[in-house]
Every structure is written in structure tokens, then in C-alpha cells.
Symmetry: C2
Subunit: 547 residues, 2 copies
């Protein structure tokens, strides 16, 4: 077939094609708004010109030390400026940023340094001790260890590096002529999943996906230019959901935060006129518990994900004047890729209906091509009836390149042209998806499926309950029954029987927990409740009873 007139002499060239990269955002913002505030960290206030110069110095220093394309630069740090800067400086020399979860133990850190083949690691003083132990376990040779000095940490520490971060920057050229990636699908970041079983997997992001997802965060949230963003969400979580890059794109301000505690959060929102922040429902929950600390009057927007935010928490936040956007994602999709896009006509509904609508995960964001709820075997989409439970699949530019050095896991994750999330959900008639449970979180009692999420949602409405997790408990009669593990709000007293009675008043009786255990809940380093431990405890309860 003859080529069409549009296929002649109209190809890509240097003038009409540029690799998509989030590095373009900081260059543009620093050139247009050099004097605008970029980073706030305690007494430190740096504008975009200064921040850009520091990222260029970092990229240049790394390059001079032989770090380049395909090399991994790890960082173990709280939400402090060096980690923000590394989101730009590391890819500027072509390397890949591996922000490591600061809650991991030495063994897990050593595994990641080895598996990711890190050539450099930047270490926050708060995590120097655990990193030091990890370094003793790692097989990495010639690993350049860099100590970050940070005034916001005053606890005990023990330098583990051969130079400081500031000394490294001093080696570099603040006018470094960094190059964009040769291919926009070159890797920009490596993020390890927390992995409830076995070793964590290294999820690889590329420049194109980071660029597009950062822009999508801006349009999804309707963020105006010059947003003031508070770092309540760890930057090591999917690169802070791509917000370091989004904030650079919209010439905003990053307000750093070492520890997620209510006092500094309320203080900074008021002092710095914070307009946006993100956090797991547990962070929102904490804030509502300390609502008396609130001293700001301006509008604030909050994005939450990680678990359906309990209706009571959303209501309490909004009563405080904080607009909550509910999103959903995974490490494999650059953080949130699905958003419960709010419709103005829902504003007039009663509070409980609004909360129920907002508890749904929602629709694809601008960067995601498709999300579907399908039969995991046939890959056929299930009816959008709000009932048919299937697996959630996604496609798009903000789906990971794959798992590093793990072609088997990568092949398993990609099925029939889709990324299989492993999460279960339903599609509502209006096209909004709702997460129901991971298949192992479904409790099957007397042949009926019970969603643990649904039971937890009811539990969270009880004013005395701080945290709740429901798992299956083996039962000789019913097969399984729901068992609730509950942590009460400090100072509150409620009996197990009262909790069960409360549930029976608020849901079908067969769904109500048959047993309740009070006490603190076990959590992963990222703050996720470790249901597999609770499942073990529930099993033991049954075994003890039977024995």
C-alpha cells in the first residue's frame, strides 16, 4: 500500500520532539519564577532558583563521581529537602532514584540496596543507625554513603558516610547542563513494594509516566499554580504520589515535615497557608482527634488513599473546612491512578449518602487509559451493577515498566494487555469503581461473602473506635466468621458485647463480628495494618477454643 501524504517528510526531529520528563518542570519554573518560595523546612526557606541550583549541583556531583544512566541512587530520609532535591538531581545525571521506606528494618534495607544495586545512598541522621546495620549486611562494594545533616533531627545519630550531603553538593556545578533522557521511557525511579509475603519487588517508573502522572495530579485535583503543599505523605511512597514533580510543574511550595504529628501539621497549615496535603485515612483520623488544635481559617484540600476513608472521618474533616478527595492506586501505577471525581449535584445529598459516594474509589485519572472490573480468568468486564465482584485491571502510561530483575513477576502482573492489581471490586452503574477487598480479605460465612471493608466501615462510625480491622476466623459451624480487632480512642471504654451490638444495629446480622479483640493493631513500616498477623491470631483463638 502506498504511504499516505501524511507519512512523507513529517517525522520527528529535534525541533518538534522532546522527551517527556518531569525535569522540564523544575527548569521551567526556576526560569520563570526564580524568586518564588520552593521549599520550607523549619528555618530554611529556599526559592526555585536556589533549589534548582542545588539539584543541578547534585546531578553534576553524581556524574563527576561516575554515576550515570542505569545506576541506582538510594535515599533513606524523612520528608526533608535533600529527598525532594534528589527527585530532580538524581535523574539529571541519568540515574534512577530509589527512595527507601524509612520504617524498614536493617535486613530489608540491605536487601533493597543489594537488589537495586545502589551505587550511592543518602542517609538521614534519624536513620543512620539502622542504615549502618544494613550496610554491614549488604554485599555492595564501593557504595558511596552520604550523610545528610539536618537541623530538624535532634536525636542520637552516628554518621555512616564518607562525606556529607552538603559536601557532595559543593563538588557539583550549580549550572550543570543536564540532558533530558534519550528516551522518555528511560527509568527515573525505583520503588519497592512493602510486600506482605516474601521479598519486596522493585517497581520501575519512567520519565514519561512521571511527567504525565504529575500533570494528571494537577488537573485531577484542580490545583492552581503556586499551591502550598504540606509533606504529610512520605516521599518514599510512590515518589510522594509524583507530587515533588507536580509541585515543580505548578511552581508551588513544598512544606517539609519530619514527623507526622498533629501539632506541627496544624501549625504549618496555619503559618505557611498550606493549600494541599495528602495522607492515609489514619492521618486524617489523627487530625480529627486533635481538631482542637486547628487555628487556620483558609480553604485546604486533602487527598487520601490506602483504604476507604471511614465516613465519620470524612465528615469530621469537612466540618473542619478541609475538602477531602478520595483516590486509589498502587505502587505499580505511580500512586493514585483512580479518583472519586466529585459531582456538584451530590453536594445536596444527606451526609451519609455523600459519605457513601465518596467512599468509592471512582474513575481513572487523566493519565490512566482504562480501568475495568473483570473476571480474572476470562478478562471479560463484569456488569456495572455495583454487585458483581471481579478483579481490578488498569492500562495506561502511569502503569509501571515492570519489576526490576523479576521477569516472572512482571509477566504475572501483566495479563492480556492489562495490569492485574490483585484487588477486588465492583463497578457501579455510573462507572465508579468500588474496592471491595483483596480476595483473601473476603470472609465466607455460611456460604455468604462478607466484605471485611464493609464491616470495618461500620466499626469506624463508633465514636470510641480509633482503628479497626476485620478478618476471617475459622469456625466449625459457619466455615468462617468475622473477627474484629479494635484499638479504642485513648481513655474510652467499650465492651466487646457493646461493639457487637452496635454492629448488629447497623448491618445485616450475619455480617456482624462474632468475636472482638481489643488492643493495639500490628502494622507494617508504612502504617498498613498487618492483616496476616491478625489472621494468625484469629486462627489461634479458634484453635484454643477447640482445644
Amino acid at each position: 500500500m502506498q504511504s499516505s501524504i501524511y507519512e512523507r517528510d513529517l517525522g520527528a526531529n529535534e525541533a518538534n520532539h522532546a522527551a517527556l520528563t518531569p525535569l522540564a518542570f523544575i527548569e521551567r519554573t526556576a526560569s520563570i519564577y526564580p524568586d518564588r518560595l520552593a521549599v520550607v523546612h523549619g528555618e530554611v526557606r529556599r526559592n526555585w532558583a536556589q533549589t534548582y541550583a542545588r539539584t543541578r549541583a547534585l546531578g553534576s556531583a553524581l556524574m563527576q563521581r561516575g554515576i550515570g544512566k542505569g545506576d541506582t541512587v538510594a535515599v533513606i530520609a524523612a520528608n526533608i529537602p535533600p529527598l525532594f532535591e534528589a527527585h530532580f538531581g538524581v535523574p539529571m545525571c541519568g540515574a534512577v532514584l530509589n527512595a527507601i521506606n524509612t520504617r524498614l528494618d536493617a535486613e530489608a534495607i540491605a536487601f533493597i540496596l543489594d537488589h537495586g544495586e545502589a551505587k550511592v545512598v543518602l542517609v538521614d541522621p534519624e536513620f543512620a543507625e539502622v542504615t549502618g546495620r544494613a550496610l554491614n549486611m549488604t554485599a555492595r562494594r564501593d557504595l558511596l554513603v552520604v550523610d545528610i545533616e539536618d537541623p530538624s533531627y535532634s536525636g542520637p545519630t552516628q554518621p555512616v558516610g564518607t562525606l556529607t550531603y552538603e559536601a557532595l553538593l559543593a563538588e557539583g556545578d550549580p549550572n550543570f547542563a543536564w540532558q533530558p533522557p534519550a528516551d522518555e521511557r528511560d527509568a527515573i525511579a525505583l520503588n519497592y513494594t512493602s510486600g506482605t509475603t516474601g521479598n519486596p519487588k522493585g517497581v520501575v517508573y519512567h520519565h514519561r509516566g512521571a511527567h504525565l502522572n504529575a500533570l494528571s495530579q494537577i488537573t485531577t485535583w484542580g490545583m492552581p499554580d503556586h499551591s502550598v503543599y504540606l509533606w504529610t505523605l512520605p516521599m518514599f511512597h510512590c515518589n510522594g504520589w509524583c507530587f515533588p514533580w507536580a509541585i515543580a510543574a505548578n511552581a508551588g511550595t513544598s512544606v517539609c515535615l519530619r514527623a507526622v504529628r498533629p501539632e506541627p501539621i496544624y501549625q504549618l497549615i496555619a503559618d505557611e497557608k498550606v493549600t494541599h496535603f495528602c495522607g492515609a485515612p489514619i492521618v486524617l483520623n489523627m487530625l480529627t482527634q486533635y481538631a482542637h488544635l486547628k487555628s487556620f481559617e483558609h480553604e485546604v484540600k486533602c487527598m487520601t488513599a490506602g483504604a476507604s476513608p471511614p465516613a465519620a472521618v470524612i465528615e469530621a474533616m469537612e466540618a473542619m473546612g478541609v475538602e477531602v478527595t478520595h483516590v486509589y492506586g498502587l505502587t505499580e501505577v505511580y500512586g493514585p491512578a483512580v479518583v472519586c471525581a466529585w459531582k456538584s449535584e451530590w453536594n445536596s445529598l444527606p451526609a451519609d449518602q455523600r459519605a457513601r459516594l465518596k467512599a468509592r474509589q471512582g474513575v481513572k485519572n487523566q493519565a490512566l487509559a482504562e480501568v475495568m472490573v473483570a473476571d480474572p480468568d476470562t478478562m471479560h468486564p463484569l456488569p456495572a451493577d455495583g454487585q458483581s465482584l471481579g478483579e481490578i485491571f488498569m492500562r495506561g502510561n502511569n502503569v509501571m515498566s515492570g519489576y526490576l530483575k523479576n521477569p516472572t513477576a512482571t509477566r504475572e502482573a501483566f495479563r492480556g494487555g492489562w495490569f492485574a492489581t490483585g484487588d477486588l471490586g465492583v463497578m457501579h452503574p455510573d462507572g465508579y469503581m468500588e474496592l471491595k477487598d483483596r480476595s483473601k480479605d473476603i470472609i465466607i460465612s455460611g456460604g455468604e461473602n462478607i466484605s471485611s471493608v464493609e464491616v470495618e466501615d461500620v466499626l469506624y462510625r463508633h465514636p470510641a473506635i480509633l482503628e479497626a480491622a476485620v478478618v476471617a476466623r475459622p469456625d466449625p459451624k459457619w466455615g468462617e466468621t468475622p473477627c474484629a480487632f479494635i484499638d479504642l480512642v485513648k481513655g474510652q471504654q467499650v465492651s466487646e458485647a457493646e461493639i457487637i451490638a452496635f454492629c448488629r444495629e447497623n448491618m445485616a446480622h450475619f455480617k456482624a463480628p462474632k468475636s472482638v479483640v481489643l488492643g493495639p493493631l500490628p502494622k507494617t513500616s508504612t502504617g498498613k495494618i498487618q492483616k496476616f498477623i491478625l489472621r494468625e491470631r484469629a486462627k489461634q483463638l479458634s484453635a484454643e477454643k477447640a482445644g
Copy 2:
């Protein structure tokens, strides 16, 4: 060299790569916000579900008629729903949209239909007569001519097609399973420049550029979701600066407008609560002349380009509560690619200083990689001193693929990895670019580009004219008008009015000179006409008239 760990098993696949296309915007918006108002046109009000169904029917009908990848579908229409719909329906079948300037004469339209090899042309009743004449001139065989019926036009008309637009839609499937482009650099649109010499050139856009520039319009302007956009800017101008696609991305509303007159504009802004509109400075000028018609109280934003907006016009608009954003671009860069990004600290400056700052063209938008003012020979950037005059060069994904079937012109336009705009300007110390002069003698009249060479060509056809030179004459209403300096053949006698009448017979009326000056022309020693002297004379004419 061994490949890095990031180059193994991490390539693109169907799950993690999707072609960038603005078609994704309408699909997403129609699925999330089916009931939201998409298009307003007089009595016609259609939501996004209806609009998406119509675009799919159009794509399907075209495909059934054998139109597909690499085919051109032309439209000659005012800003009415069918032209908006064509921005989606045409590329849905893989074809390329060629929106033709409605102010062109039959000859120019025939040239474009022939050169673009149109297979279909959709014709607005207002332009049926001129199109009918063009069809008689064209060499196209089997051209499908479709009559648009439109209630907003009540003047005389003469159907020229074999079926109506609604009949064409009725042939198609409103659930058409259109496919995204196989390659995101596949052509999506063809836009003819007015052309400085001889025939217009066909500028080709691709899906990637349209997607990115549409998103860039949203972030550049800080457009929130659900903006209400009034179509004061012709959609045939660089695809309405990509706003049909941007409005689809932000689930906004397109308010159509047949004729740019102050009464309906003020009426629609008030009635439909318009939040955004674009227009040449002449449109703003007109609105300020009719400020007494204003009946709206809400905030409105306006984007203007085409010539520096006069300070008085900006001030008058802002006094009316309309925030003006000044942008700059060319057909070759998808419309505006440069924006005078406003800084809050400028708000406190005196009005004349603010106007001077806003008259500058500014900085690259989010989609453009780079803009520079450089020596056109050496391509070296000139000092950012606000003084050194050089040519403006651009690079980025919103730079055209090239000129259709014109590899020579394409090669000339791309120099050393840059697109050479042909415009002259200076770079200010703060990185804001300002347009100074046009190297190619373009006259901008009422937002339309007029090629002085083209007007001269016609003048030279008059038997009594010996020499002719056309330059821009400043005009309070139109910005500029063409002014012809003419030396007659010895012994011949022709009046200025006769020359203007001759031009109006031989070209689009808006291109005809508004003033004619008879007499010998100033020349260099080598016989070149000294246009800069004539420009001074034209300026004096205006000054004398004003004085």
C-alpha cells in the same frame, strides 16, 4: 557495553503504554460526566453523552464511507457544533481534520481542497456559496460534499452537497468502537497558514502534540474543571488553539457563536456564566467599545494573542472584571506556545508599568521545550538585555510535524534542531521574550495574518501599476491595515479608490489595502524597495489622521 539492569524486561507493552491523543479526553469526560452540559448553540443544549455519541457516529459514518488513516476531511464552518464535533469524529476514523478559514475566497479554498487532497468537505450554509465556486475550480474527484444545516444562519444559501450533516451522522454508529492512533505522532489536523509568499502552506499536527498542548492550555491558564468557554476565537485558527480538546479534557462547556458581535457575546457571558474566552486584541477592543452592554458580575478570563494588546484595551477589560492573559504563537506551534505568565508581585505596580509588562509575549508554556531569541545565522542565543534583536526559535512537542507535501519549506523552517518562527524579538533580563518586528512583512489585521507579498502580487496584475509595496499601517480598530504604496506606469491614471476596488475583486476583502499612496518608491542603490521607510510613512499617515 553491557546493558543496565533497567534495560532488561521493562519495555513498553499494551498495559503500560497508551498513545497520547486528545480523543481520550472526550471518552473519559463522557464516561464520568455524561449528563454535564457540553455544547450550547442557541436553543441546542447537548450533554457530553450526546456529544460523544454524535462524534462517534461521525467517525463511524466516515469510516463506512471509506475514509480512514491519512485521509483529509475539510470543514468550512463558523464556530458551530459540527466543527466542534469534527475535532473528535474525524480523528476517530483515523482521518485528518482540515478546518478552513471561512474568510478565504473561492480560489484559496479550491487550492486548499486540492493541496490537502480532501475526500470530504463539510459546509456551513453561510459559506456554501463561496464553497460552491471553489468546488467548480477544484480538481478533486469523488469529493463528498456535506451540507450543514444550522438554525443560527438565516441568510441566503444554496446547498452544494449530496447529503446533510445530520443525514451523515444518521448513517453512523453512536457506539462506534474507535481506535486510538497506532502511533501518537500520526497526523490529527491540517491547518493552512495565510502564507507570506504565494500559496498557503499546510501545517500538520499530531495526536501527541494536540494532547499535550491542550493540557498545557489548562495548566497555563489555571482552568478549573467545568470551565464555560465562549467561542469568540475561530476554531479554524490552529484548531481554536487546541481548546476543543482542552474543554473536553476539563469537562467544560463550549458556548458556540456564529458571529463575533458585542451583543451576543455580552448576552452569552451573562446567560451561560461564561468563565473563559479567547480573542484577538480587536475583539477585546470591540468589547470595550460596547462596555455599556455588560450585564455580568462574575469573574471572566480572557486570552489574547495576534498582536500586543494595547495598554488601554487591557486596562479597560480589567476594569470590567475580565482578567487578560497575553499569549503568543503561530500556526506552526499549535497556536499559543508562549504566555506572559503573570506574577502576583506585579499587581501593585502602576497601570502603565503593568500594561508594559503584559504587552510582552513572555515565556514558554508547559508543552514547549524551549524558546530562544538568537542570531539567525549562528543560532547563538543573544544577550537577555531587552535590546538585542534576534529571531525567535522554538523547540518542543507542540511544534508542527512539518508542511504537507512541502519538504523544502519544512527543511527551511527547521534549522539546527529548532523551528525558526521568522519573527523578531528581544529577550528581557527576566527571561520574558518580547516580539519586536516581523521579518516576513506580515500585516495583522483584526487578528488575521495578511501577507504583504500576496497583496502586492495582485496589485502587480493591474496593467497601470508599475511598482507596488504593501506595509502595515497602524489602525486603532484593526490593529493594522494594509497600506499600498504604488508607482504608476508613465502616462497612466488610476484613482486610489479604483485600486482598492480592483483588489477587493481579486482577493478576500479583509486583505485588500485600506489606503493607497501614489508616487515613486524609495529604493536602495541595488534597486530594492526600502520598506522600512514606507512603514514610517504609513505610521505618519495614521498619526496625522489621529492628530
